[in-house]
C-alpha cells in the first residue's frame, strides 16, 4: 500500500469524524423547533452541544486542509466544481456558528426566535451541503482533462447528489434525536427517543437508497458488505432505543457511520473524483497525490496529532458527560 492510499484512508477518516460529530450537531439544530416546547428546553438542547460543537466543526477544516495538502488536485477540482453549493454551505455554517454564541446574549423573544431560525435553517442547509458534497465526490462531476468543471455552475446538482443531501439530512435527524435522548433528562429525553423510534427508520431510507445506488454504480463485494453492516447497525440502534439504552443506540449509529464511510469511499477508490464526461479524465489517488516527501511529513504530523486530538476531545465529552435537564439551566442573565 502506497502512502497515497494511506492518505486516502486518512481523508475518509476525517470525513467520518466530521459526519459522526457534526451529524448530531446538525440534528440538534434541525430538531430545535420539533422537540423543544419552550425556551428552557431549547436551551437544554443547545447546551448538550454547547461545549463541543466548535471542536466538532474543526474536523471539516482539517478534512479540507488535509485534502489540500495530500491531494491538491482533488481539493481544487471538487471545491471549484461545487462553487455555488459550497457558498450556501459556508453561509449556513457561518450563520449557525454565531447563532449558538449570540442567541442568549439579548433577553428578547424576538431576538432568540431569529437566531433559533438561523440555527435550524443553517443546520439544515449545512447538512444538505455535506450530503451533496460527498455524493458529488462519489458520483463525479463533468470534468475536462485539466480537472476543471465544464458546463453549468449547477452541474453538481443531480438526482444522485440530491439523494445524498436528503440522506445526510435524514441521518442527522436520527443521530441528533438519539444524541438528545442520550444527553438530556426529563420530558425532552422521552420526546427525543419517541421521535427517533417513530421517524428514524423512514429518515434512514434515503441513506440506504444512496448506499445501494453507489454500490450499483461502482461497488465491490466488501463495500456491499459494509452496506449490510450499515443496515444491521441501524436496526440494532432502533432495537436498543426501544430498550431505553440510548448510549448503545448511539454507539450502534456510530458503527453505521463507519460502515457508511467505508461503503462510500471504498466504492470511490481508486478515484477521488470521477469525471462524468470521460473515465480517462477521472481524478485518481495516484495522479492527484502530493509528493512522497510531503505525504511523509504529513504522516508524521497526523501520527502524533490525531491521537492527541482524540484524547483531549474525548476528555471534553467526559467532562461534560452529565445529562442536561431544565433544572440545570440557569436563569437568563444579560446586561
Amino acid at each position: 500500500m502506497e502512502l497515497a492510499d494511506v492518505w486516502f484512508c486518512v481523508i475518509a477518516v476525517l470525513w467520518l469524524g466530521y459526519i459522526f460529530l457534526e451529524g448530531f450537531d446538525f440534528g440538534v439544530g434541525m430538531l430545535l423547533p420539533v422537540l423543544a416546547k419552550d425556551n428552557t428546553e431549547r436551551r437544554v438542547m443547545i447546551n448538550t452541544i454547547g461545549p463541543v460543537w466548535d471542536g466538532n466543526e474543526v474536523w471539516l477544516l482539517v478534512a479540507g486542509g488535509a485534502t489540500f495538502a495530500a491531494f491538491p488536485g482533488w481539493y481544487a477540482s471538487l471545491f471549484s466544481g461545487t462553487y455555488i453549493p459550497l457558498v450556501l454551505f459556508l453561509v449556513a455554517l457561518i450563520g449557525r456558528g454565531v447563532a449558538f454564541e449570540y442567541r442568549g446574549k439579548v433577553d428578547s423573544d424576538r431576538w432568540r426566535r431569529t437566531w433559533d431560525r438561523i440555527i435550524t435553517g443553517g443546520s439544515l442547509v449545512a447538512a444538505i451541503g455535506v450530503g451533496l458534497l460527498i455524493s458529488t465526490t462519489v458520483f463525479g462531476l463533468p470534468l475536462d482533462g485539466n480537472g476543471n468543471r465544464v458546463g453549468s455552475p449547477f452541474a453538481a446538482i443531480t438526482a444522485e447528489s440530491l439523494l445524498g443531501a436528503v440522506a445526510l439530512v435524514g441521518f442527522a435527524l436520527v443521530h441528533g434525536a438519539v444524541f438528545i435522548a442520550l444527553k438530556t433528562d426529563g420530558d425532552i429525553r422521552h420526546r427525543a427517543r419517541a421521535f427517533a423510534s417513530r421517524v428514524g427508520p423512514w429518515a434512514l431510507l434515503p441513506l440506504a437508497g444512496l448506499l445501494v445506488l453507489v454500490q450499483l454504480h461502482s461497488g465491490a463485494w466488501w463495500t456491499w458488505a459494509a452496506v449490510a453492516v450499515v443496515l444491521v447497525a441501524a436496526a440494532l440502534a432502533f432495537e436498543r432505543l426501544s430498550a431505553v439504552r440510548e448510549g448503545q443506540a448511539f454507539a450502534a449509529l456510530g458503527v453505521a457511520v463507519v460502515a457508511t464511510v467505508v461503503a462510500l469511499f471504498g466504492a470511490l477508490y481508486p478515484n477521488v473524483l470521477p469525471s462524468t464526461l470521460d473515465p480517462a479524465y477521472s481524478l485518481t489517488v495516484a495522479d492527484t497525490a502530493s509528493s512522497p516527501y510531503t505525504l511523509k511529513v504529513m504522516s508524521w504530523v497526523a501520527l502524533f496529532g490525531t491521537p492527541a486530538v482524540l484524547v483531549y476531545q474525548g476528555w471534553t465529552y467526559w467532562v461534560f458527560r452529565k445529562r442536561v435537564s431544565t433544572a440545570h439551566i440557569p436563569p437568563v442573565h444579560v446586561p
Binding site: W53, F68, F79, L93, V106, V301, H333
Partner: protein, 489 residues
Amino acid sequence: MDVLELARWQFGITTVYHFLMVPLTIGLAVLVAGMQTAWVRTGHEKYLRMTKFWGKLLLVNFAMGVVTGIVQEFQFGMAWSEYSRFVGDVFGAPLAMEGLVAFFVESTFLGLWIFGWDRLPKRVHLACAWAFSLATIASAYFILAANSWMQHPVGVELVDGKPRLTSIWAVLTNNTALAAIPHTVAGCFAVAGAFLVGIGGWHLWRRRDDDGPVWRASVRYGGWVGVVAFSALAITGDVQGKLMFEQQPMKMAAAEALCHTEQPASFSIFAIGDVTRPDCENVKSITVPALLSFLAHNDFNSEVRGIEDLVQEYRDRYGANYPVDDRLGELSGKPIDYVPNLPVTYWGFRLMIGFGALAALAAVGVLWVTRRGRIPRGKWFPIAVLGGIATPFLANSFGWIFTEMGRQPFVVVPNPSGVDGVWMFTARGVSGLTTGEVWTSLIALTLVYGALAVVEVFLIAKYVRGGVAGVMPPKPPDKTDDDQLAFAY
C-alpha cells in the same frame, strides 16, 4: 469586472474582515489567560472580575473569527483552484498542520474554558485558558508560514513545472516567516492593548460602578501591553523591511513610489499629488534624505533600486507578455504590468506606520495621565481612548493590504536567490468560474459579513456598557440549585 478581479476583491474583503477578529482574539486570549493566572495566584476578586468581563468580550469576538476562518480555507480551492494545484505540494501542509495541531486545541479548550467554570479544578481550568490562547499563536505561526512561502518560496525544487517540497523545515523556518510572525503577533497585542485601554478607560472615567479597581488595572495592563507591543512592532518591522528590500525589491520600491534608483535614497514621509505612474515624476514629496538607504541596508549611503530599473529586470527574467492562453481572459498575450498599485502600496505603507505610531503615542499617553491613581476628568479622554481602539486595527489592515497588494502581479513571488521557475502570476491562479458564480459569493458573503459586523458591534457595546455586573450573575444565597450550570448558552 472579470473573474480574476472579482475573486481578488472577494479574497481581499473576506481576509481583511477575518483579520479584524483574529488579532483581537489572539491578543485578548493571552491577556485574559494572564488575568486568570493573576487571580489563581493571588486570589484577588479584582482579577476574577477582569477575567470574566474581558473573557466575555473575547467570546463574542471569537465566534466571528471562527466562522470567517472557514471561508478562508475553502476559498483557495473554490476560487483559486489553479493556484491550489500549483502550490498544493507545499502550501497545503502548513494549512493542514494549523488545523490538526493548533485549531483543534483552540476550539476544544475554548469550549472547556467557557463551560468549565466551577466544574473543572481551578488550575486545570486555567491550563485550558493557556492551551487555548497559546494555540491561537500557533495558528498564526502556521498561517504566516504559508503566507511567507508565497512571498518568498523556499524549500522546494521544480518538477514538471510545479514546486515540490524538499524541506518542510525550510518552509517553517523561512526567514520571511520568522520576521513576519513576531511582527504580526505584536500587532495582535497592540489591538488587545488598545481594546483594554479604550473600554477600561471609558469605565474608569465614568465612575458609574464599584469596579474602579478593575478598570484601572485593565487600563494600566492594556497600556503597558501596548507600549511593549509597539516597541516590538518597530523593531520587527525594521527587520521585515530589510528582508523585503532583498527578497521583494519591487514591493519596497512601490512602498516608496521610488521611480528611479537612488544613491543615497531618501525616505518619503508624505506626498502631494498623484503617486500613480507615470505621474510619479511630478509628485512633490516631503523627504528625509538618505533614510531609505538606511532602512534598506543599515547604510546611509547605499543604493536603493527604483521601479523603472526593476521593471526592466523583471521583464528580462519573467517575460514581457503574458502567454497566449484563453484562461487568462483579457490578459492573454498582453504586456505584464510589474508595478503594483502605487497609491495603494504607497499610502498603505504610510497609513500602517501612521496609525501604528498614533496608537503607540496613545498607549504612552494613557499610562502618563493615569499614573499613580490619577483619573482624567476631561471630556476628551473617553473620546480619545475609545477612538484609539480603531488605530491598531487600521494599522493591521493597511499593513496587510500593503504587503499583499505589493506582491502583485505575482501570487507566488519569485525568490531572487531561490529555484528558478517557482513563481506564479495572480492571473494564472484563479479558477475557471463564471462571473455570475463569483458575483453570487461576493455579494452573499459581503452582505452576511456586513450584517454580522453590525450584530457584533452591537453586542460588544451592550456588554461593555453592562460592565462586570453584566457578565457575573449574582450567586443565589441558598445552595439549593447546586446543579445549575455555571455557564449555559
